[in-house]
């Protein structure tokens, strides 16, 4: 094939698959396996995003993973990601120290569009690290608190040491947010609730008829939580869920994130529950 070397001339690949470089400027260990990093663009160009979107984050020489934004949409040009150390790439990210360069592509995907919940109640339901992608939306509501009715954060996690953003949850309570926390397994010193986060829906104070509900957590939790919200009277179109799939490109080309006809990276990750309710019941989809 190379013999007739009639080349049309070489052209650079357009930026879609090539990461921009960001410097790690701040790192905080949140729990035993979860940490939060702040990134600054090396080229000085700030990266805008909407709450709910994600980036493809690269550890040099190791690989790339989709990670959602966990910081406010306006953080003075800094991007914030909260990451759980579970695989090769996230482990490399966990070991990265301040000053190091990371690759970043994005932002990708759909957002929560929490402003759609103005003049009504907003219910956030988070499972585990699912609190991280919801955080930018919570912060957006808090920055315009008076424009929303009752604001509820329901948060379930594995055990008390896994509680994410614990201090912040207390602060939110002081800012007119009803925060209910539950754990799967308590510890001897734990005096809070034990049980499923979906079970908190019945006891939270909100008016289902005027509620926008945003749900983010493991798929099984999402499924039961969304069903419980609908059961309580929230319209399925007013429940938004966050889906998670393997992603290698972020732009709908690699095929990995397919959820039947959906490309989760471009059609999601945030989708109306009404759109995916049937799919959530199918095993191994």
């Amino acid at each position: 094939m190379q013999r007739l070397a009639e080349r049309q001339g070489v052209q650079p690949v357009v930026a879609a698959m090539v990461p921009r470089l960001f410097r790690l400027v701040h790192r905080r260990q949140d729990t035993a396996d979860t940490f939060t990093i702040q990134l600054k663009p090396t080229d000085g160009r700030p990266l805008g995003f909407i709450p709910g979107q994600f980036t493809m984050l690269s550890a040099f020489g190791v690989g790339e993973v989709p990670i959602s934004f966990s910081g406010a949409a306006h953080l003075g040009g800094l991007l914030q990601h909260t990451v759980r150390d579970v695989g090769a790439v996230t482990h490399a990210l966990a070991r990265a120290s301040v000053g190091e360069l990371l690759g970043l592509r994005g932002p990708y995907g759909t957002g929560w569009d929490v402003a759609d919940g103005r003049d009504g109640d907003v219910v956030f339901v988070a499972g585990g690290i699912g609190l991280a992608p919801l955080r930018p939306a919570v912060l957006e509501v808090l920055s315009h608190r008076q424009r929303y009715g009752r604001v509820v954060v329901l948060y379930g996690t594995r055990s008390p040491p896994d509680l994410l953003f614990a201090d912040e949850l207390k602060r939110w309570e002081g800012q007119g947010v009803e925060v209910l926390v539950t754990v799967d397994h308590g510890t001897p010193s734990w005096t809070g609730r034990v049980g499923r986060v979906a079970d908190l829906i019945a006891r939270a104070g909100f008016d289902p008829g005027s509620t926008l509900a945003l749900v983010c957590g493991p798929e099984i939790m999402t499924r039961f939580t969304a069903a419980a919200l609908v059961e309580r009277g929230v319209h399925p179109d007013r429940v938004r869920v966050y889906l998670e799939r393997n992603m290698r490109c972020g732009v709908g080309l690699c095929g990995h994130c397919q959820y039947r006809e959906l490309f989760v990276c471009v059609d999601g990750p945030v989708l109306p529950y009404a759109r995916v309710a049937d799919l959530l019941g199918v095993r191994e989809l």
Partner: protein
């Protein structure tokens, strides 16, 4: 083809076409025989085409045979579509270097040789059309594909001898090339002289054909007679009657969506080896992964995009495990994507009926039979 008069090439005329394409800067890639299989390679001469070669294809079986005639296109697709030429199995995205605490990232450059694909079957033409949709006409297109595609000239050929696993008629994708080519050949049946009807399908094709006619010496290039066009039509019509398989596509999308829990998926999983052969030979499968390859010190790295398959456990890996641990769910994903969700995503089926997934399945799994089994429960 009816409204186009067409041109007839004798064997020396076909050689002149290859010469002309090469003179115009295209490397001509066509079918050749290697290791008992029809594969694509760069050709310079009609003598490199598989003369007098036929094939026998069935579930898990492929054999070449001697036809006992001189035909150059008397077989169907081998294991390769044209996918790997436009969408290579391994493609560099970028490379990088670590210098102290700094990192330099260098985007890859596209290697886009000017290729003339010679002898493209209608099923494969449709597959290329599908890839145009999937890879080029997107919000974020694959720039390397777009560049290569623009550098490609296509010489299609009417299928005269469909194989035992062919079902392009069911998918509406063949056997006669209807669009998406620059030139289309039909090898005319046994006559005293070996003849090909050629019709243009693009301005570029028209231009090439004109130059070919102008330059022709002797009687290697002739105006097509009414009888030639009738004979060419007969080739396509006869081929359409000899499909080895068929697939009922009526309401197929809804049928598969409604049967996500059908026991047939477990049945096929008991035979499927999850070897990924079907996805590798499929001319429309487009899933890729990325591999970061670095040196031992970790100071240089390169990110390669590589073909991937939804049949691997790793494909759907999410922290802690695979979303599709069972082969049953992976076959369902593949078949449902190909035949159903593809329609929602891209407006057409993802299957062109080329039959390669059946021929090259070591367990002879037949997607048409699996779908029929699911449908039989519905009726």
């Amino acid at each position: 083809m009816d409204d186009i008069r067409g041109t007839v090439l004798l064997l020396p005329g076909l050689q002149s076409l290859i010469d002309l394409l090469r003179a115009r800067g295209w490397a001509v890639v066509g079918p050749t025989v290697r290791d008992g299989v029809v594969v694509h390679a760069e050709i310079e001469s009609v003598d490199q085409l598989p003369r007098g070669v036929g094939d026998l294809q069935d579930g898990g079986s492929y054999r070449l045979r001697h036809r006992g005639d001189e035909k150059l296109f008397g077989y169907v697709g081998g294991p390769q579509g044209w996918k790997s030429l436009l969408f290579p199995s391994r493609e560099l995205m970028w490379s990088g270097r670590r210098v102290g605490t700094e990192v330099e990232v260098e985007p890859a450059v596209v290697d886009a040789p000017r290729l003339a694909l010679f002898g493209v079957r209608s099923c494969d033409l449709h597959a290329i059309g599908i890839h145009d949709q999937v890879l080029a006409k997107r919000a974020v297109p694959d720039p390397a594909y777009v560049t290569r595609r623009e550098a490609t000239f296509i010489v299609a050929v009417t299928c005269s001898d469909p194989g035992g696993t062919c079902f392009c008629v069911s998918m509406g994708t063949g056997p006669v090339p209807d669009r998406g080519f620059d030139l289309a050949l039909t090898e005319l049946p046994d006559q005293d002289v070996h003849r090909f009807l050629v019709v243009p399908g693009s301005d570029r094709g028209e231009e090439v054909l004109e130059e070919l006619t102008t330059r022709a010496e002797g009687d290697e290039v002739l105006n097509a007679a009414r009888a030639d066009r009738a004979a060419a039509r007969e080739v396509g019509a006869a081929a359409a009657q000899r499909m080895g398989r068929s697939l009922n596509t009526d309401g197929l999308r809804d049928l598969l969506y409604a049967n996500a829990a059908h026991p047939q998926w477990d049945d096929v999983a008991s035979r499927c080896l999850a070897c990924t052969n079907c996805t590798l030979v499929c001319p429309t499968c487009f899933c890729t992964s990325v591999d970061d390859v670095s040196d031992l010190t970790g100071s240089t790295t390169a990110r390669w995009r590589v073909w991937d398959s939804c049949f691997t456990n790793d494909f759907s890996y999410l922290h802690g495990g695979s979303v599709r641990p069972s082969v049953s769910s992976r076959y369902r994903q593949w078949a449902t994507h190909k035949l159903a969700s593809w329609v929602d995503q891209f407006g057409t089926s993802g299957c062109v009926g080329c039959g390669r997934c059946i021929t090259w399945c070591p367990a002879a799994i037949d997607i048409t039979a699996e779908v029929a089994a699911i449908r039989s429960g519905e009726d």
